[in-house]
Symmetry: C2
Subunit: 650 residues, 2 copies
């Protein structure tokens, strides 16, 4: 039933002025996934007038511009979307993530300022507070009357949140809490909205009640008065210029015995009652701590989305430039060779585009899980843990990819890529810190590995070494590598490949699914064995395993990503788009296997001859996809007019 299409036909994308190829439109629809309708609507209604900030602004100009832009966006529904405005309302995580995605298409300072205000500050009040907090503060937070800080990180404690030194001490005499920065290292640092605009802060600290430490809790603290002066006992500081995100006013906060009424504690999970006694819904302090942090998972989901879109913007710019720019002539190409005809250029951009799609599909599933769990549906504690692990992991690999891809795109555009007017260097500077905030990527990957080990232990903890070996590989696969998508299909693929892996074609999806699963399963099993040999409490013994842990985490995330890609292809209804996605998926899968082909040979999963053939296959896939480069860029979902690259407008 395939209709022969006119390849030059253009369809209206819904974005004012944007015309797409049919294939491009269909690829975009496929990548938009379950949220295709909502995303298309968001694109068509997004106010794209002040999308990019003028480079070269002073820090004050940038901060002013961003604050204005934030107000403008919030007024058009792209700010506090999804947040509750009073007690009893349900948050709408899909709307929140979608708004964040749309903001990722423009100035990233605005994105992050919005994320600080609505996601972190508003999110903390919403998730960790109770009715009184919601009714009292949420209307002013969502309308930007109160700008707020998320004061978690301290100078001395970045990744180690449990180790923060700020104290929140209950004072029974006055029924207040006293917030204190106990040491210089307790200074809150890198806090958005702290340097200039914030009038309140959610402050993380150790809750002390009658001499007992109940662990990290969060309290609302006014930090500036109506004139913008520091409140008594509060000292704000400006951390000034950064590598990017110039429009976000990051700063420091210090508290010297600052008092707030008792009810300012965000006490959903634990607080002090009218009798001055600590009471908590969750009694285990460790579980309480992780539950509190867990409600903030949306931040990581959003940063992963934002990083992914930053990479898509860069790849769209570089691909379009690679299609217009010619360099060198050859006897058979006297008009000059288009950059994208060079194999080195194809190898630089096309596998990155493939990975961009892959991570997009994985992100779609992550968003769906967030919506399921935070959108009022039923879920188990295990679902919540799984979401946290997935969010941490995808945030790490997507922002790592974004940094690498944007830089590669800058280089692919040569000197022109270095000019601010072409958009890449600003993007690069802004996205850099995505690798660090909302969790350092290395630390996050270690979290993922630890979660997988825990899961593994729960399944296999009682088996001894012999028992483990006796359990068939297949069972291990099913139990530990729980699938989130396209279950039956992938099970069938893996089963097909298991007994004939060397005979399958390099582009056979069954082989990819098997290889990705083998990589994760074997690496996790051997890590579990090595971990079992350590006491688990000796720093050096665990430290020695940390590179292995990173490998396991990446292998896990690669598998999850491939499976999401496969599910995304299954859901695609346009045959031409589906065929392109199949090739793109092969390119993603083979590039990933190629990267680790040493591991596959070392573990006898691929023969040297087969490994050696992968490079040529990658070249061939690039050549096959080269004619659809424009359509692939369109499918990435960033309208050309929004790219902010002067050289594309010439």
């Amino acid at each position: 039933m395939t209709m022969t299409m006119d390849p030059s036909a253009r369809v209206d994308s819904g974005v004012p002025g944007e015309q797409l190829t049919e294939l491009g439109a269909n690829l975009r629809h496929a990548l938009d996934g379950q949220l295709a309708v909502e995303r298309a609507t968001a694109r068509s209604t997004f106010p794209a007038e002040h999308l990019h900030r003028e480079p070269g602004q002073t820090i004050e100009q940038a901060r002013e511009w961003v604050l204005n832009r934030l107000r403008e966006l919030d007024a058009t529904g792209f700010g506090s979307a999804g947040l509750i405005t009073k007690a009893g309302e349900s948050p709408d995580p899909a709307a929140a993530v979608l708004a964040f995605e749309m903001l990722s298409m423009g100035d990233l300072s605005t994105l992050i300022k919005s994320g600080v205000q609505f996601g972190l500050f508003g999110g903390a009040v919403s998730n960790l507070g109770t009715s009184w907090h919601h009714d009292t503060f949420m209307p002013d937070i969502t309308s930007l009357k109160i700008l707020g800080c998320f004061a978690m990180t301290e100078l001395g404690h970045g990744s180690d949140v449990a180790g923060i030194e700020t104290t929140i001490t209950f004072v029974p005499e006055t029924d207040e809490f006293e917030i204190n920065s106990e040491t210089p290292e307790a200074t809150k640092a890198y806090i958005g909205n702290a340097a200039r605009d914030g009038s309140m802060a959610v402050v993380f600290g150790q809750l002390l009640v009658r001499g007992r430490n109940h662990g990290v809790h969060v309290v609302l603290v006014p930090i500036r008065d109506a004139d913008g002066k520091d409140m008594p006992g509060v000292t704000t500081g400006d951390q000034g210029l950064k590598g990017g995100l110039l429009g976000v006013d990051n700063g420091t906060l210090r508290f010297e015995r600052v008092r707030v009424p008792r009810r300012m504690l965000l006490d959903r999970y634990g607080g002090v009652d009218d009798t001055g006694t600590y009471r908590a819904e969750i009694t285990n302090p460790n579980r309480r701590f992780f539950t509190m942090l867990g409600t903030l998972v949306r931040g990581r989901v959003c940063i992963a989305a934002g990083g992914g879109i930053a990479a898509r913007r860069a790849l769209s710019i570089a691909t379009r430039y690679g299609l217009q720019r010619r360099q060198f002539t050859t006897p058979d190409r006297p008009e000059g060779v288009t950059l994208l005809d060079y194999l080195t250029h194809q190898r630089r951009l096309l596998p990155a585009i493939a990975r961009s799609y892959a991570l997009g599909f994985a992100q779609n599933e992550l968003t769906a899980a967030l919506v399921r769990i935070q959108g009022g549906g039923e879920y188990t504690e295990r679902d919540q843990r799984e979401l946290e692990t997935r969010a941490a992991g995808l945030k790490a690999i997507t922002t790592r990819f974004a940094n690498d891809a944007i830089q590669s795109c800058r280089e692919a555009c040569g000197g022109a890529g270095y000019l601010s007017e072409n958009g890449l260097v600003g993007l690069r500077a802004d996205a850099d810190i995505f690798a660090t905030f909302e969790g350092d990527n290395t630390v996050l990957l270690q979290l993922v590995a630890k979660a997988l080990l825990t899961e593994y232990k729960q399944v296999w903890g009682d088996l001894d070494r012999v028992g483990m070996v006796q359990a068939t590989a297949r069972v291990v696969g099913q139990a530990v590598l729980e699938r989130t998508a396209a279950n039956v299909l992938i099970d069938r693929l893996v089963a097909t490949a298991r007994r004939q892996s060397e005979e399958l074609a390099l582009v056979d999806r069954a082989w990819h699914a098997w290889a990705f699963e083998e990589r994760e399963r074997h690496a996790l099993e051997s890590l579990a064995r090595r971990m079992r040999r350590t006491s688990g409490r000796d720093f050096e013994a665990v430290n020695r395993l940390s590179e292995h842990m990173l490998f396991v985490a990446r292998a896990h995330l690669e598998r999850v990503t491939l499976e999401a890609f496969i599910a995304g292809i299954e859901a695609c209804t346009d045959p031409e788009a589906k065929a392109v996605l199949q090739r793109l998926c092969s390119l993603y899968a083979l590039a990933s296997i190629n990267e680790d082909r040493a591991w596959f040979m070392e573990h006898s999963r691929i023969s040297p001859a087969r490994a050696k053939a992968i490079g040529a296959q990658l070249n061939a896939l690039c050549a096959e996809l080269r004619p659809q480069a424009l359509e692939l860029a369109e499918g990435l979902g960033v309208p050309a007019a929004w790219l902010g690259a002067a050289f594309l407008e010439k």
Copy 2:
């Protein structure tokens, strides 16, 4: 005769206020190599007062600051060093490179502005001009009375210099040349000193004499008058903000039938004589073109040096921060774990430090070759070609490394690394473009591969397939892989390893030398075979080999770098420093083999079991070198007080 040293003893480095550990001083001395005395003198006399530009300057402030700094540095001998000031003088390339290295310790805009003025503009007048040009212009160039542009790149022609479209047409009637930008693409672009400060330019264009094109030549053209106005027919443009190097006024130049007297042509290699006839010292146009470009090789040597030092600065900052910063406590480390005690952190920084040393030793040899050839000594055309290849290749791999290392250091310093006051993000932004200017890195690596193929063809061109196979591997090795350093030692090492590679320890230098040589030799041989099967003129046929070419180029440069490291260790006289360098060299070599271990397995050069063992050995080497991290940072040669990182001063 090793004396037991007090490890806390400090020695005066010669830099005002700098105290080093003895080991650090000895490592620095070793890495300074043949120029140790000169480098130590340069460090001790370098004016370090205005080393770093204040971040947050406007573009105008930055340009002004940089111009002032340039004048200050030139006055103290760190600007035009090494350039001639009149006809008959000999340039001093060692002095020029040394000055460039010192400038690399500070603001990189100043470095590049200096490079444009003295290296490119002054270098072109000096190298491509004759006595009249030298006497007339060099005094004003070296004293900064004339600021000049190096107008080679055009909007339409970056890497393809031979394809530039600007014309330099001889006008016999008036004995003049007419310079014309024939098309919009002929606009000179990314030209330093063009936007603001330049009053002259050396302009590259096609020389047309009586209707005949003699290929690319260079002519001196005044572009601004004494009031800073564009000269008649000249249009200058400002390219404004860039990803970094804010203080360099890059811009565009267009020429509309601009006339200059005949003698303004820089006619050392070809020009028009008094009778209006073209005459050239080198009659082959292709050879003339490459000879002219070849004189500019110093630019690439300098950029390689500058990139290498930028990486050393970043590694010095991140290492020192990693030694002071603690994060998380463990039961056995209640005071907190130092960042550099984490294996992931060690694996991030220590192999990069090892590579930094390795590239430093390779750079020393490159500088020595430049001095030999441009310093008035005897040399063959082959020496010159070899220098050009080496400069192109080391520029590419060193600036690639610099970009990666600086970014990795930024991430290793977390949020603090993102603050401008800690120096890393500015360095990252400025060094980014090193990957592109003075030759796009991908294009340069292809040049290296082509040069190796040419060399190979000269040695083996007459042999057929059978003859090639019959020639023993050893002979091929000797003929093609000509050594530049430690010849006898390396020959012996390789011979030792050849027959017992699998039995040698992973840290055995003989095994490293053999593996590096095998990688290059085999990859080059197979490339030559594949190349022979193409006509060489069919674009796609050659294009398909381009990834293979990049591999060959890198393999060659890795070998050259390892051999330089080995020679550097041989030259080291301090036993303790020598022992540390031995471990560091093993770390460099093993990291390089590890990176390509898939290739080694695919070509049966390493067994899977052996490949698998490399990771643990890398961990072990990192653990061994961890206690000397401070000394290693000292050895990198950038005084701590010059790092410009606020968090190290606290």
